[in-house]
C-alpha cells in the first residue's frame, strides 16, 4: 500500500548493518576492558535446599580470587528481576543470594577473581552444607502444596494480582463475560481439551553479559546487554539497596533478546562485586547458565472449552491457564493474562460469552520470564488448535470457519479490554494467505509415491502494541551543527532495527534523509525515559513519540528561523532543508538555524516528547504451513510456510519481513523439537545447544511473507507492532497439519517424531 510517504515504508538498510556484518566491535564483551574482575556464580545442584553452612575460606585462598560472597553478605530486602514499570506486578521474591535455594542452578555464592581459572577453582572450593528439602516439581500439585517455595515473611506482592506465597500462588484471577453456562447449554458442539506449551528458551546468540565499574563520579556504571536500561537501573539499585541515583545503565549493541533481556538476569552479580570492591567487573553467562538459570517462556497448560453451533458459529470460549513461573515470579502475573486476552478476541465476531481464569504457581524449576509472545503464544496454540479441532469435527474448511468468526475492523472486543479494532486487516490476511499458499491444493492430504504424506495447517495470531495506560515511549530530537539531527531514545535496538525505523519516522516528519539522523540509545543518564523495548511497544509507542518530537522541533526551528528572517513564526513553513516564508520572500536553511541556535539563543533547537497510549492496537497474522510427514518414522519436514501480516503500516518492509521470518522459524522449533525436560533431580536435560536444538536452515522449509496493511490512527504513520505477533502461528498450524496427516491431535509441545509415531493409529 503506497501511502505517499517518502521514507516510511522504504526497505532501507539498518544503520548498523555494515558494522555488524563486518564484525566491528559492538557488543558488551568487545567494548569493555579485558582486565575486569571475572564474576562467576556457584549454583545449587539441588532443586530445593537450605544452606546450613557455607565456608569460603579455602576458596578465598586461591591466588587471584578477590572476593567470595554468600547470603550473609547481601542486602535483605527482596526485589524482582522483572523489567516492568514500577510498582511491578511481579512479586518481590528474590534476594541477591538467599539461604534457601529454589531450583537447580539457583545462586549460592558469587566469586570475583582476576581471571577465569582462579574463579573456576574457587567455585570448586566453596564448601556448602545443604539441608536438602523436598521440591515441588509438578505444577499441577503446586497450588496449596504443603511444601512452599516462598514461605518467607518478607515476600511482597506490590500489586493486587491474586498472589499468595503461602499457597505457592504467584497470581490468580478470573473474569467472565455474558451468560457462559447458558450459552454452552445451547451449543451444538463443544470442544474441550488441555494444551501444553513447554518453557522454551529464547536462545539469543549472545548470552547474558554485563560489565560494571565505578565511574569518575563514584557512581556505578553498568554496560549491559539489556532491553530495559531504566528498569535495570531501578532493579540493580533495589538489589544492592543503594540509591537509584548512584546507578547509570547503558546498552551497546545487543546480540538478540526476544524478551530474555527484559529480565535483569546477570547484571546484579557484577554490580554487587563492583559496588563492594570498587573494581571493574564483568559477568559473561555461559550458554549452560543461559539455559538453566535465566528467563525462559512460562510453561503453561491451557484448558479450552469452546462452544459452537453446528454451522460453525463460535459462541463461547472458556479458557483456564495454569502457568508455571518456576522458582521466582518474574513476569508471572502478566504473561498469563495474554494467554486469554490475546486468544479469545480473535473470535469476537459471534462470541456471546467467555470466561478466562488462571493460576500462576511457584515450583522448584527454573524461573520463567518474558519470551516473545509473552503468554499469547501459549494461549493461541490452545485456542487455534481448538478451532481447528472444531472445524474438523464439523467438516468445515478451517479457513471458512475463521472467516465466519474472526474479528474484523470496527468490532469492539469484550475480551480485549473492550477496545475497538480501528485497524484490522485480518480478513484480508487470511484471504491473501490462502492465495499465496495455494491452500486449496495444499490442505488436502496427499500420499506421495514414497509413502510420505503431505498436508497443511492454518492458524491466526494477534498480539498487542505496547501496554496500554502504562508504557511510556520517549524521544529527544535535536538539531546539530550544519543541520544534522540527533535522535535520542531509551528504547533498545536488539537487532530488530528500531534505530533505523525510528529514524525513518523522524526523516518522514523532518523531510530529510534518514542518513541525516544519528540515533543514540539507550542510556539511563542520557536518553529520555522509555519503558524499554518489550511488549511490542517500540515502533508503535516510541515511534509516535519520535513523530511528535519532530513536530515540536519543527515549530522551534520556525521560531528560531523567524528571528533570522525577522518575522513571526506563523509566517513560516518548514520544508526539510529549512524554513520558508509563506509569501516566498525569504528562507533560512537548517544550517542557518543550527548556527543561530548556538548563538545568543533561548529557543531550544531540540524537543523531547513522551508518549503513552490508552489502547494497545493488535497486529494480526494469518499463517499456513505445509509439512511432509513420514508415517513410518514420525519424522516431519516443514516444506512451505506462508504468512500474511497486518502490522498497520510496515515502517520498513525489509525489516518487518525478516522479523516475521525469524518469528515463524522460532515457532517451528517450539512446535517440533525445542524440548525442555527435567530430570528426576530437578535439573534440565537440555542445558546446551547440543541438547536444546534450535532450528537450523535445514529445518524450516520455504517462507513466503507478505503484508496486508491497515492504518492504525493512533500509531506513527499508521503503524502497529510486528515483533511478537509473528511467533504464534507456527505451533498450531504444524499441530494441525500433523493431525491431518495422522488423524491424531497432539496437544503437548514439542511434537517429536517419537510422539507422532507412537500415537499413530494401528500402532
Amino acid at each position: 500500500m503506497n501511502k505517499g510517504y517518502r521514507y516510511v515504508g522504504q526497505p532501507i538498510r539498518k544503520k548498523d548493518a555494515m558494522q555488524l556484518l563486518l564484525g566491528k566491535p559492538a557488543f558488551v564483551d568487545d567494548i569493555t576492558p579485558k582486565d575486569a574482575l571475572v564474576v562467576k556464580v556457584l549454583r545449587s545442584k539441588y532443586a530445593h535446599a537450605w544452606i546450613q553452612e557455607i565456608n569460603t575460606d579455602i576458596a578465598l585462598k586461591v591466588p587471584g580470587v578477590v572476593a567470595v560472597y554468600t547470603y550473609k553478605d547481601v542486602p535483605q530486602k527482596r526485589f524482582t528481576q522483572a523489567g516492568q514499570t514500577y510498582p511491578e506486578p511481579s512479586p518481590y521474591d528474590r534476594l541477591l543470594l538467599d539461604q534457601r535455594v529454589r531450583f537447580v542452578g539457583d545462586a549460592v555464592a558469587i566469586v570475583a577473581a582476576e581471571n577465569e581459572k582462579a574463579a573456576d577453582k574457587a567455585l570448586k572450593l566453596i564448601k556448602v552444607q545443604y539441608e536438602v528439602l523436598e521440591p515441588v516439581l509438578d505444577m499441577h500439585t503446586a497450588k496449596d502444596n504443603p511444601i512452599l517455595v516462598h514461605p518467607e515473611d518478607n515476600w511482597i506482592a506490590n500489586c493486587p494480582v491474586g498472589a499468595d506465597n503461602q499457597r505457592n500462588l504467584c497470581a490468580s484471577g478470573s473474569e467472565t463475560h455474558g451468560d457462559l453456562e447458558g450459552v454452552f447449554a445451547t451449543c451444538d458442539e463443544i470442544i474441550e481439551h488441555s494444551y501444553r506449551v513447554q518453557a522454551c528458551q529464547q536462545a539469543m546468540m549472545e548470552t547474558f553479559r554485563t560489565y560494571t565499574e565505578i565511574d569518575r563520579y563514584g557512581r556505578l556504571h553498568v554496560i549491559s546487554s539489556t532491553q530495559i536500561v531504566f528498569h535495570c537501573r531501578r532493579i540493580i539499585a533495589n538489589a544492592l539497596d543503594i540509591p537509584k541515583s548512584k546507578v547509570h545503565v547503558e546498552k551497546p549493541r545487543i546480540g538478540g533478546g526476544f524478551g530474555a533481556k527484559q529480565t535483569v538476569v546477570a547484571e546484579v552479580y557484577p554490580a554487587f562485586v563492583t559496588w563492594k570492591t570498587k573494581r571493574p567487573a564483568k559477568m559473561i553467562y555461559t550458554r549452560e547458565e543461559s539455559q538453566i538459570a535465566a528467563s525462559p517462556r512460562h510453561e503453561m497448560e491451557v484448558h479450552v472449552r469452546l462452544g459452537a453451533s453446528k454451522e460453525g458459529i463460535i459462541r463461547a470460549l472458556d479458557v483456564y491457564t495454569l502457568s508455571n513461573t518456576g522458582a521466582y515470579g518474574e513476569h508471572g502475573p502478566t504473561t498469563v493474562g495474554l494467554s486469554g486476552h490475546k486468544s479469545i478476541p480473535l473470535y469476537t465476531a459471534n462470541m456471546e460469552a467467555f470466561r478466562f481464569g488462571y493460576d500462576v504457581v511457584y515450583t522448584n524449576k527454573q524461573a520463567a520470564g518474558a519470551y516473545r509472545g509473552y503468554g499469547a503464544t501459549q494461549g493461541i496454540f490452545a485456542v487455534e488448535s481448538a478451532v481447528n479441532e472444531l472445524a474438523d469435527k464439523l467438516g468445515i474448511d478451517p479457513t471458512v470457519i475463521r472467516e465466519k468468526n474472526m474479528v474484523r475492523e470496527g468490532m469492539t472486543m469484550p475480551a480485549y479490554y473492550n477496545e475497538t479494532t480501528n485497524a484490522c486487516a485480518l480478513d484480508r490476511c487470511l484471504e491473501r494467505c490462502k492465495e499465496i499458499f495455494d491452500w486449496e491444493h495444499k490442505f488436502p492430504v496427499r500420499h506421495m509415491p514414497d509413502g510420505k504424506i503431505r498436508t497443511a495447517g492454518v492458524a491466526l495470531s494477534m498480539q498487542g502494541s505496547a501496554i496500554s495506560n502504562c508504557d511510556v515511549g520517549s524521544a529527544t530530537i535535536k538539531l546539530g551543527d550544519e543541520g544534522f539531527y540527533n535522535l535520542l531514545i531509551g528504547a533498545a535496538d536488539m537487532g530488530t532495527g528500531c534505530d533505523t525505523t525510528l529514524s525513518q519516522i523522524a526523516a518522514e516528519c523532518l523531510e530529510c534523509s534518514p542518513d541525516e539522523i544519528e540515533v543514540f540509545g539507550a542510556d539511563s543518564d542520557a536518553s529520555p525515559y522509555d519503558s524499554g523495548s518489550y511488549a511490542s511497544s517500540t515502533a508503535y509507542l516510541t515511534g509516535k513519540a519520535v513523530e511528535k518530537a519532530c513536530i515540536e522541533l519543527k515549530e522551534n526551528m520556525c521560531r528560531i528561523g523567524a528571528q533570522l528572517l525577522q518575522c513571526e513564526p506563523e509566517e513560516l513553513e518548514f520544508r526539510g532543508d529549512g524554513v520558508y516564508k509563506l509569501d516566498g520572500s525569504g528562507f533560512a536553511s537548517r544550517m542557518d538555524i543550527a548556527t543561530k541556535s548556538m548563538v545568543c539563543n533561548t529557543i531550544p533547537a531540540q524537543a523531547t516528547v513522551s508518549h503513552t497510549s490508552p489502547v494497545s492496537p493488535p497486529p494480526f497474522m494469518a499463517g499456513m504451513i505445509e509439512i511432509e510427514l513420514d508415517p513410518e518414522t514420525g519424522g516431519v519436514q516443514v516444506l512451505d510456510c506462508a504468512a500474511v501480516v497486518d502490522c498497520g503500516t510496515a515502517l520498513n518492509p525489509a525489516l518487518a519481513r525478516v522479523q516475521t521470518e525469524g518469528g515463524i522459524v522460532q515457532g517451528i522449533g517450539m512446535a517440533l523439537f525445542e524440548n525442555v525436560s527435567y530430570m528426576p533431580d530437578g535439573s534440565i536435560a537440555e542445558n546446551s545447544f547440543m541438547q536444546y536444538k534450535i532450528p537450523t536452515r535445514l529445518d524450516m522449509g520455504k517462507l513466503h511473507v507478505e503484508f496486508e496493511e491497515s492504518h492504525e490512527p493512533t500509531g506513527p504513520y499508521g503503524a502497529k507492532s510486528i515483533g511478537e505477533v509473528v511467533i504464534n502461528i507456527s505451533a498450531p498450524a504444524i499441530a494441525h497439519a500433523i493431525f491431518r496427516a495422522t488423524g491424531v491431535w497432539h496437544r503437548t509441545l514439542p511434537i517429536t517424531p517419537e510422539k507422532i509415531l507412537l500415537a499413530m493409529p494401528n500402532a
Binding site: 526497505p11 538498510r13 539498518k14 548498523d16 548493518a17 555494515m18 558494522q19 555488524l20 556484518l21 563486518l22 564484525g23 566491528k24 566491535p25 559492538a26 557488543f27 564483551d29 568487545d30 579485558k34 529464547q202 536462545a203 539469543m204 546468540m205 549472545e206 548470552t207 549493541r253 545487543i254 546480540g255 538478540g256 533478546g257 526476544f258 555461559t286 550458554r287 549452560e288 536488539m494 537487532g495 530488530t496 532495527g497 520498513n652 525489509a654 525489516l655 519481513r657 525478516v658 516475521t660 521470518e661 525469524g662 518469528g663 515463524i664 522459524v665 522460532q666 546446551s688 545447544f689 547440543m690 534450535i694 537450523t696 536452515r697 535445514l698 524450516m700 520455504k702 517462507l703
Partner: protein, 154 residues
C-alpha cells in the same frame, strides 16, 4: 608456552598457556569479531579459517595453530565487503552477533563453490545458527550477490 603463527597475514609470536583456545587467543589479539555462542561446538559463531579451512576456534587449541595461518573477519574485510551489502539490503544481519561466523563460512563456501545452489548454500551454512533472521533473508542476500556477480561477468 611460546607459539608462532600467522594471524591475518601478520606473523606473530606469543606466550600462551597450553589450554588457551584459539577463540580466546584471537580475541586477545584484537580479533573481536570472533564470538563465543555456546560451549558445545554447535553454533558456528567462532568460525575462523585455519589455512583457509573454516574451523571452530572454540574447540581448537591456539597451540595447534602454531605454524599455521589463521584468518578472522578482521583480515578478510575486502572479501566480505563484496557480498555483505546484499545481506544488509535484506535486513538479514539483525542482531549481528552471529554475523562474523556466518560471513566467514560464507567466504569459505564461495571459495570452494563460487556458484552454489540454494540447497548447497543451506547445507554448507547449516552449522551457523541464527536466532533472529529465520535464515531466509541471508539466503536471499547471498542469492542476490551471486546474481549480481553473474550479471557483472556478462
Amino acid at each position: 608456552m611460546q607459539i608462532q603463527m600467522t594471524l591475518n597475514q601478520k606473523k606473530i609470536t606469543a606466550e600462551i598457556e597450553a589450554d588457551t583456545l584459539l577463540l580466546d587467543f584471537v580475541r586477545d589479539h584484537g580479533c573481536l569479531s570472533v564470538k563465543r555462542g555456546c560451549e558445545t561446538a554447535n553454533c558456528g559463531l567462532c568460525t575462523v579459517l585455519l589455512d583457509g579451512v573454516p574451523v571452530l576456534s572454540c574447540s581448537t587449541l591456539a597451540a595447534r595453530a602454531t605454524g599455521h595461518h589463521v584468518q578472522t573477519l578482521e583480515g578478510l574485510q575486502a572479501e566480505a565487503e563484496e557480498f555483505v551489502g546484499f545481506i544488509a539490503d535484506q535486513g538479514a544481519e539483525q542482531c549481528g552477533f552471529c554475523n562474523p561466523g556466518f560471513v566467514m563460512n560464507t567466504i569459505a563456501l564461495l571459495r570452494e563453490n563460487p556458484t552454489p545452489t540454494d540447497d548447497e548454500i543451506r547445507a554448507y551454512l547449516a552449522g551457523n545458527l541464527c536466532r533472529c533472521s529465520g535464515y531466509d533473508g541471508q539466503l536471499r542476500g547471498i542469492r542476490a550477490y551471486l546474481d549480481w556477480k553473474e550479471a557483472q561477468a556478462k
